[in-house]
Amino acid sequence: MPEVKLEGVTKRYGKVTAVDHLDLVVRDGEILTLLGPSGCGKTTTLRCIAGFIVPDEGRIFLGEEEVTRLPPEKRDIGFVFQNYALWPHMTVFQNLAFGLQLRRTPKDEIGKRVREVLSLVRLSGMEDRYPRQLSGGQQQRVALARALVLRPRVLLLDEPLSNLDAKLREEMRFEIRELQRQLGITAIYVTHDQAEALVLSDRIAVLNEGRLVQLGTPEEIYQRPANRFVAGFIGLSSFVEARVAAVEANAATLETEDGLRFRVPKGGLREGQTVVLAIRPEHVEILAAPPGELENVFQVEVLRAAYLGNSVDCRLRLGKWELRTQLPPGKIPSPGEKLWIRFPPEKLILVKA
């Protein structure tokens, strides 16, 4: 299974640059997610790899072969569409068999391969149904099966789960993950749902405005976001801007405009430098009682609290900043209530402004 390589891929639509000199390597057998908000260029990139779009600049390689201008029918890819694009006038069997027929595969071989892939996606017995007779989840699996039946060298998925309801989406994420692992097929997945990306991917490529912002494993992206955009896009974050007030060998003291002081165990900062603290909701510790001498302890005021069933979503005011946190289910604080919180210093994330 070859890798996929993009070199300087650029695509413009009039004045808008959808994909801006993108360099990317997808490793053999991994599943890499292109993640970003609408308009970030992830779908355009995927379609360039598929061959539905020809980039204005740059090169695309599937393994050793350059495919930049090769038409899609010659690329040996499998594509799963957001709307599934199952041909309505064909049964499930015919939908799956179509590609094999085009390659003049003998009939019994076709039957074998189709039934094989149907059992892979757990839809055995549905061969003679028409797409309109299937549920959304079933259609999605047929779309997946159709992409896989030809044993392509790379599997491309364009937000395949976005038309499903939340519960089904969660289930299907794992199924797709398992399927990909089982087959060992190189896959590129596009989504705007960061939870999905975190569950599915071996690596995530975060895109914004056509550019690659960060490339890394889900843990790297979540724990060490490269900048404010990534920190804000992945997981929930509250942001606090501060200036470096004092520097030590392996730590620093930060001070905000309104005099809040934080201590972070991070070296290499310069005095006077502006940094942004990204605070994840799960990194806010609620203290039962006002503390003694602890660093990074503040008193906050509750702005809003919403009961979510398994947690309580709170908005807190810290000085002039607004924080978001999640409390375990139990007593729901009322607006105006004062709480004491602490930020474990090692959990604070510093990002470039």
Binding site: A50, F52, E73, W87
Partner: protein
């Protein structure tokens, strides 16, 4: 201000109550059609079975077949030929326009709309001047050396007639088929390409099968139109054989013979028969039941 009544309960919304109002609104149009269409339609059938003494007989049909049998076949021939060729051309053209995003395709699309809007009288006159033995087509061909000056192409027959019908009907079918194709999302085509389909596969295995009903309706309407047209054959076809519609005019204007003319009319009904019934059933079903 109304209070307490939900929208659905308010009379007449979402076709809530039928009742007299819609019938009242439809009355003038329906009455007119009944008097001006259904009545003479019935008459045409009755007259065809009536002999000169007012009795029931098939004499008109015998006369129609013996005098105009050849023309009945001619009408069928023109309709079949015209329909088949224009359908084939239209399908190719529509597929081409759908799949190509060149400026040439867009231009051809706009140009081809012309035939839809020009009336048959104008088209007939155009064809008369274009296809005449000394008309523009022959003049161009002669000057290019493709045709002998002394024997220009004789086109005031089935050939010219078919060309005229093609000119008028191909744009129509192309438009209908293209409308159907435009509704097909690009992803269905891309999906086919992603499993290795070349353009001809995309057209023959995906696009056209997906719009079979649309194509069927277009074919049926074209066939019925060609059979029914009077203007074009009347102005283009010289001599024999000619279409049944021309014969009907002939029968009425020169002989005042409404009975044989009606018999010929019934032959026309029979020719379009199956097609017309198919069209009527489909359209009514779609309008009333939504499929």
């Amino acid at each position: 201000m109304r209070s307490g009544s939900s929208a659905v309960e308010v009379k007449g919304l979402r076709g809530g109550t039928g009742g007299f109002l819609p019938l009242f609104l439809l009355l003038p149009a329906v009455a007119f059609i009944l008097v001006m269409y259904i009545y003479p339609f019935a008459l045409s059938i009755i007259r065809s079975f009536t002999d000169e003494n007012g009795g029931l007989s098939l004499v008109n049909y015998h006369k129609a077949v013996s005098l105009y049998g050849r023309d009945i076949l001619f009408s069928i021939q023109v309709a079949v030929l015209g329909t088949l060729i224009s359908t084939a051309l239209s399908l190719a053209l529509a597929a081409y326009i759908r799949l190509s995003d060149s400026w040439a395709a867009r231009l051809i699309n706009s140009l081809s709309r012309l035939g839809i809007f020009l009336p048959y009288v104008v088209v007939a006159q155009m064809m008369r001047s274009f296809l005449a033995p000394h008309g523009l087509l022959n003049v161009l061909l002669a000057n290019m050396g493709l045709v002998d000056i002394d024997t220009p192409l004789q086109l005031f027959n089935i050939r010219g007639l078919t060309f005229g019908f093609l000119w008028k009907e191909t744009p129509f079918i192309t438009f209908i088929v293209l409308s159907g194709l435009q509704v097909i999302d690009d992803t269905y085509i891309e999906a086919a390409r992603s499993v290795g389909a070349r353009t001809r596969h995309v057209i023959l295995r995906i696009l056209l099968p997906m719009i079979k009903p649309t194509i069927a309706i277009a074919v049926v309407l074209t066939f019925c139109t060609i059979v029914s047209t009077f203007t074009l054959p009347y102005m283009i076809v010289a001599g024999n054989p000619t279409t049944v519609t021309v014969d009907i005019a002939h029968r009425v204007t020169y002989f005042g013979d409404y009975r044989v003319a009606s018999a010929l009319g019934v032959f026309l009904y029979l020719i379009v028969g199956a097609m017309a019934i198919y069209y009527l059933r489909r359209t009514v079903r779609e309008e009333v039941y939504g499929y």
